[in-house]
Subunit: 355 residues, 2 copies
């Protein structure tokens, strides 16, 4: 599929189904609106699926892994080799995302879209390598536009395949040493905020290293002169292969009328790019947690997403999305399992209340 065809498949939400869901929610034994976010999500799901879902959907997190040439500038507390090592950890089930995905009943699919080395054969690892990591964006473009598009289509195609195999909701996850630097550069460009306001400590930088990271992002923007109105240009120059892959996952979810739960800061950068490529895609996104990266709040506001979990996470991998998917399942069950006022014989509000 081409990127143009992918974008054309993305349609608006079903407003009729959302109105019906709201009517149903207001008939359940609770004060109207008192289940807050669960009601918002329930109505949103109806708009995406075209009806109130009758059961919790099969849940899959797509974890895209890729390396970043900009690590040469000393922007991360961990060396690039950790990307590959952690992918093996994911395959063996010992990482944070494995634990939380199992806990929330979520399947995990890992994708090598741009690891700098060659991972061994591992269960649940898809080999879709577009390149052995990006180039150093502080010296020139991280990728070619052709590479960025290939990574996007890799993500979108994978989601199409998952949808055909029964997945009903997708979450985003990533692994890539250096990718908070890339994400900060992208949100700086799209939001117009100065790098100092959106760059954070990532996996654990000290003050001096944080200063250096800010300078590197400023330099990457100055060297590459990304065009804000051309999201593919900005993505190629400042992004990462895993970020491009997740942009494709998000566009693919929207094209397949599936909700996509956006994890943290790096996933948020992919969501911003997806929303710039196709604004309608934003209607398929659900927020999960608010991370510790200072740029994440700016991103969520830019996307119009509401964070529901205040976990102080700064791990990525899809850890926030996994917990968020548990909350989405709760919304589905509320719509299917709660009694109505008439079923339960519960009195409604006293006259004069306008709720």
């Amino acid at each position: 599929m081409s990127l143009e065809m992918l974008i054309q498949k993305i349609k608006p939400l079903n407003q009729v189904a959302m109105t019906e869901a709201q009517r149903h929610l207001d008939d359940l034994t609770k004060p109207p609106g008192s289940l807050g976010v669960l009601e918002t999500i329930g109505k949103h799901l109806a708009g995406i699926y075209g009806a109130i879902p009758s059961a919790t959907p099969k849940k899959t997190i797509v974890l895209m892994a890729g390396d970043h040439g900009v690590v040469a500038e000393g922007v991360s507390a961990f060396p690039s080799e950790v990307t590959l090592q952690m992918v093996a950890n994911f395959a063996n089930g010992g990482a944070g995302i494995n634990v939380l995905a199992r806990h929330a009943g979520v399947e995990l699919v890992c994708v090598d879209v741009g690891i700098a080395g060659n991972p061994p054969d591992l269960p649940n690892l898809r080999r879709c390598k577009v390149a052995y990591g990006t180039k150093n964006m502080a010296r020139g473009p991280a990728m070619t536009q052709e590479q960025a598009v290939r990574a996007i289509l890799t993500g979108a195609d994978l989601v199409g395949e998952l949808a055909a195999a029964g997945t009903g909701i997708v979450g985003t996850g990533e692994m890539g040493i250096g990718n908070t630097t890339s994400s900060a550069a992208l949100i700086a460009v799209f939001s117009g905020m100065p790098p100092a306001d959106v760059v954070g400590r990532g996996t654990g930088l000290n003050d001096r290293q944080l200063e250096r990271k800010i300078r590197v992002v400023e330099q990457a923007i100055a060297v590459n002169r990304p065009r804000r109105e051309d999201p593919l240009d900005a993505l190629a120059k400042l992004g990462g292969l895993e970020i491009a892959g997740l942009t494709g996952v998000i566009l693919g979810a929207a094209a397949n009328r599936m909700p996509v739960v956006i994890d943290g800061f790096i996933s948020g950068a992919a969501a911003v790019v997806a929303g710039e490529i196709c604004p309608l895609a934003k209607e398929y996104m659900l927020g999960s947690h608010l991370s510790e990266e200072p740029g994440h709040k700016i991103m969520l506001e830019y996307l119009g997403l509401e964070p529901i979990l205040m976990m102080r996470f700064r791990l990525g991998e899809g850890t926030g999305a996994a917990l968020g998917m548990f909350v989405v399942d709760a919304a589905v069950k509320i719509m299917n399992e709660m009694a109505t006022f008439s079923q339960a014989g519960v009195a409604g509000k006293v006259s004069g209340s306008d709720g």
Copy 2:
């Protein structure tokens, strides 16, 4: 058991176990501290249990139900009969808390500690009625101190029984038309904030009704002159039977070295009273969600609890605690199922990083 004996059973957390838990958490394959709240909870649980728990504990929410004489002042959008009707709904499994408790793997025990009517025989309903609702606190004390103490001991005894039957973590829930009014009065007294800052719309009041509710709380405080330094006096004069019952649940959890997940605004009022009666009890409390009631944030700050879920809930019943217990289970699994750096063959931080 007497209240004095109950309080004497409450001991400080095990600092050695907390230090060991921190060491273990720092050895897991993630940047130190990057799982945020899950790490905080994990360490906290070790301090409560005296060791890192090796499996997720059996989870029970105690839902205390009671009626409020102050409803005669027109402070609620729903009539008092709804308390009894909703208890039947809980027994039949059709309420919000039933759905969320099932979803999170939590057992639910309902207690009639002060419903104004007589519920029929219902599964999972404990009959521990102390009175047929409280008196109207706008005209005089809601309860006698003897009633308040009986309700507290009812809650504490029940938790002791649950602990003996295998429960390892308790959540709080409540049902009682009018109980946001009572809770607002309690937090106003203990925090010293004016009623206008802590009174909210409850299940859905309009502006005129909200004004009336504020006046009623002001009047209840003026009429009763509760002694801030005597928590039992304030509880008896302004509280509810279900609030007193939950105060006992919280003290009982602490006395049995179990964590207790505090639900929303009404549970928070019970937690404030429990903390005033025995400050050490606060060490056993875990926050869950931040509710829409304006006084809830003030309460959580007063208690030193961190809300982890931003659900915009204003339903009570224990709905926030149920979701919070899922997060607590996640913390237990993180401590038990994640690989260490050496197990996974993952490199640590590069030199010079100070995390």
